[in-house]
């Protein structure tokens, strides 16, 4: 078996599961996940998330007797929509179900490379439960806008994400109103630039793309009218022409006429800019190859994106064909999410104990769907490898080794590192006083910190 068989599941996948053999033909194993994936897993819709959020508000306000509340109005709207309102709020159970579903999928995925790509794009298009009334919407964004396009076209993913209720609410486009539109009520309500700025800066061109404050404002005007019916049917995306800014707008020198359709046209225009290809190529290479990826690797990915008009299957296949992506030793420091998932898979944590993954993400400061800012979680070693962060890693390794239970130490070692384990680590494990301590040394070893 080649070194590549060991590297593939660590670098491109989620790590081997206890008892899982390394792939015989790593290239074919990765290609199969792109070209012939298993059926997508079930997931949450924005409508389900928003209805649950409304029920939660109704029950909360009715129980606490808030004087000024929209509860009666929300209740009537839900009942008109045929929603039966239960006695207790379904929101906590839904949050729990969705986070555990996310973790269980990572523990048992038939397509771990594909899931890594889903997580990469979900971070690129960060939405966060920190942003107020977000309920479980990040789960719906992954299910409805990211996973369906993960090997499709970038432009399609960009459009699906930007018009999704999760993004429209998180970056405040839901509250943005054209200053000269009917809904502005003589200028009392107006433009909110947040989504427009972050699409330009974080999702497409990046600051290297050279747009101006004027472009941000024009793009914000284009995006007006893309809103969410969050408190009434259809509990989903809503095109609201009364909020749309009238007149033509100019983005990067290109004229966009007013009306429905201009939003998607502008997004597709941004998706096809050379600066966007360059930015996405650099991010992909940074995630899968190295913090400072070799320029020729970035150029190769950029060329594929340009030549295929943003085909994400093609760029994913190009990624695993890069010679630089296979260079040992593994030097990409695992972010907590990678680390926790890989450790739990190697320890043989079952889907029924998916809560161990969720707890690990909290303990190591990368909680699921709670990124602090719209630029998502950092993807460089300097952001994660700090003294106290490392201490927490080994504390958690010790904790999870105790909670998961360790019986098959050779199997765990084979899944975690196999022949990549250093002699020092193997020796230290041999000298350990308990299975739990030995597993802590394995999961806490420096070579397990990298992928």
């Amino acid at each position: 078996m080649s070194t590549r068989s060991q590297i593939a599941p660590i670098r491109f996948g989620l790590g081997l599961r206890l008892g899982e053999a390394p792939p015989e033909d790593p290239q074919a194993w990765l290609q199969r996940q792109i070209l012939q994936p298993a059926d997508p897993p079930p997931g949450l819709t924005a409508t389900e998330a928003l209805i649950t959020q409304n029920i939660n508000v109704v029950l909360r306000d009715e129980a606490s007797g808030v004087a000024r509340t929209r509860a009666p109005e929300l209740r009537a709207a839900l009942e008109r929509h045929g929603v039966a309102i239960p006695d207790t709020s379904p929101l906590p159970a839904l949050v729990r179900r969705e986070t555990l579903r996310w973790a269980a999928r990572r523990l048992s995925s038939p397509d771990p490379f594909r899931d890594r790509l889903v997580d990469f794009w979900a971070n690129h298009f960060t939405t966060s439960r920190r942003g107020g009334a977000m309920a479980t919407l990040p789960a719906a964004l992954e299910h409805e806008a990211i996973r369906p396009h993960v090997t499709g076209r970038f432009a399609d993913m960009l459009v699906a994400v930007t018009r999704h209720p999760a993004m429209l609410i998180y970056l405040n486009n839901n509250a943005s109103v054209g200053p000269n539109s009917a809904a502005s009520r003589n200028g009392r309500r107006g433009l909110n630039e947040n989504l427009a700025r972050e699409v330009l800066e974080l999702h497409t061109l990046s600051p290297a793309g050279g747009y101006t404050q004027g472009d941000v404002q024009e793009f914000a005007k284009i995006l007006t009218g893309w809103r969410v019916a969050g408190d009434r049917a259809p509990y989903d995306f809503l095109w609201q022409p009364q909020a749309h800014e009238p007149g033509p707008k100019h983005l990067l020198g290109r004229r966009f006429e007013e009306g429905e359709g201009s939003q998607e046209a502008a997004l597709r225009f941004l998706a096809a800019q050379p600066a966007t290809w360059r930015f996405l190529a650099a991010k992909l290479a940074r995630h899968f190859v190295a913090d400072d990826p070799p320029p020729e690797a970035v150029r190769a990915l950029e060329t594929v994106l340009r030549d295929t008009d943003g085909d994400l299957a093609a760029v994913s296949l190009a990624l695993v064909s890069l010679p630089q992506a296979w260079d040992p030793p593994l030097r990409k420091f695992r972010a907590p999410q990678d680390y926790v998932v890989a450790a739990c898979r190697a320890l043989g944590v079952t889907e029924q104990r998916a809560d161990l993954v969720i707890g690990g993400l909290i303990a190591l400061n990368q909680p699921l769907w709670i990124a602090p800012q719209p630029n998502g979680w950092p993807d460089r070693m300097t952001a994660w490898a700090a003294p106290e962060a490392l201490m927490r890693r080994v504390d958690w390794a010790y904790t999870v080794a105790g909670r998961a239970g360790v019986s098959d130490l050779p199997g765990i070692t084979a899944a975690a590192l196999g022949p990549l384990a250093r002699a020092e680590t193997v020796g230290a494990m041999r000298g350990a006083g308990s299975m739990r301590d030995a597993a802590t040394l394995l999961i806490g070893s420096p070579e397990f910190m990298y992928r």
């Binding site: 405040n172 109103v177 502005s184 700025r197 106290e388 010790y398 230290a428 420096p446």
Partner: protein
């Protein structure tokens, strides 16, 4: 490592903490001795407000005739009225939730610098935060405070710098090693297992020193703060500020600390959205003062944010990304009781791009004055902290004579 002390269940928690510190010393050799070599007695704390605090809202120029016109509902009632601003001497008023800060101001222990900004004109949070921390109008791979620490006596060995949090912000990244502290959250291995883990990490060029520092910092924190508790609020900003204050107050402790506080990006319903972070900051400043005790008189706390926000409210009773804002200075070493500003006004001509509060002071001049006057850094070291800024002179009058 076979003779490293083992923890037994029969030891009390305090004993175990002691052992942890002892185990640390054995792993690292001579670093404990380094504690004895005291650096300067002055304390310096930087609080990074992530998300861009609206300086015009936190510190309102209520005497400016344009304020009510331009800010509408975001202009709070004048001092003395119900829910009104806390007066800062006739022209400016503090947001009413800043009661602790206001008391410090009244005791001449706090001052505000208004209409101040860094040299960059980016309205991107992430670019602006990087440049604020780098201390330049471009991205650098180290932070200005780390470069400044390098010029203090014996900085690396004594771990003069402390980042409060699990990760070290760019401001504190760089050639000078710094400590990091955050309350631990889960079960902890025995000192013996820590020692074995440290030996394994030593084989890695990057992780070996980081892990050793993690152990050392834990040992020191445990001997100063006692055994970590599992109380729910232990990771909240005021609690972190209190812990930082205790560590800074220790004779062998750090002298410079960085804390971070997010939540300032108030695009929607700002009046409500800003309350949480304002209260956390206000409570945190009070906790720092209490924990520092007599050392408060030797302390400067500098509170800075990446940029200010638009002078006008947006369409959602919030504000968008702007330019100039406010820097807060607190501590017994500060020449408090004043608002330092060359006020640009809020007229269309006074504003930058008819949009943002116009910067009339450079944040680097504030930081330079503190590095030179408070930490006594030589001019060469200040210039290293803030490269290519010869024309930016340290701001006068920030420190008590």
């Amino acid at each position: 490592m076979s003779n490293a002390p083992r923890a037994h269940a029969s030891f009390s928690l305090g004993r175990r903490g002691l052992l942890l510190g002892l185990g640390t010393a054995m792993v690292l050799g001579g670093t404990r001795a380094a504690f004895a070599r005291l650096p300067g007695e002055r304390r310096f704390v930087v609080i990074l407000q992530r998300g861009a605090m609206d300086g015009l809202y936190a510190v309102q120029p209520y005497a400016d005739p344009e304020l009510r016109e331009i800010r509408a509902s975001l202009a709070l009632p004048e001092p003395g009225q119900e829910g009104g601003l806390l007066d800062l001497g006739g022209r400016f008023g503090l947001h009413p939730a800043f009661a602790t800060l206001h008391a410090m101001y009244a005791a001449n222990e706090a001052l505000l610098v208004h209409a101040v900004a860094g040299p960059y004109r980016s309205r991107s949070h992430f670019d602006a935060q990087d440049m604020l921390e780098a201390g330049a109008d471009q991205r650098l791979s180290s932070g200005w405070l780390n470069r400044a620490l390098g010029a203090l006596p014996n900085p690396a060995q004594a771990r003069t710098g402390l980042a409060v949090g699990t990760n070290v912000p760019l401001l504190m990244q760089g050639p000078t090693p710094v400590g990091a502290w955050f309350p631990p959250g889960v079960e902890q291995p025995s000192p013996d297992l820590y020692a074995r883990l440290a030996a394994l990490q030593a084989g890695d060029p990057a992780l070996g020193t980081l892990f050793a520092e993690g152990l050392r910092a834990r040992g020191f924190a445990t001997s100063t703060l006692g055994q970590p508790t599992r109380e729910p609020g232990r990771g909240r900003f005021p609690q972190l500020a209190a812990a930082a204050g205790k560590l800074l107050a220790e004779a062998g402790g750090p002298r410079v600390a960085v804390l971070e506080l997010g939540g300032w990006d108030t695009h929607v319903a700002q009046a409500n959205a800003i309350l949480g972070p304002v209260r956390a900051l206000d409570e945190g400043l009070g906790a720092l003062k209490t924990a520092l005790g007599p050392q408060w008189s030797r302390t400067v706390v500098l509170v800075i944010t990446e940029f200010g926000r638009t002078a006008r409210a947006n369409g959602n009773a919030g504000t968008d990304h702007g330019t100039a804002g406010v820097a807060i200075l607190a501590g017994g070493a500060v020449a408090g009781g004043q608002v330092k500003t060359d006020w640009p006004g809020l007229t269309a001509d006074g504003l930058l791009d008819n949009r943002d509060l116009r910067p009339t002071a450079d944040l680097r001049s504030v930081a330079k004055a503190l590095l030179a006057g408070h930490l006594d850094l030589p001019g060469r070291a200040v210039a290293q902290a803030f490269p290519n800024s010869e024309s930016v002179r340290p701001m006068a009058g920030l420190l008590r004579g």
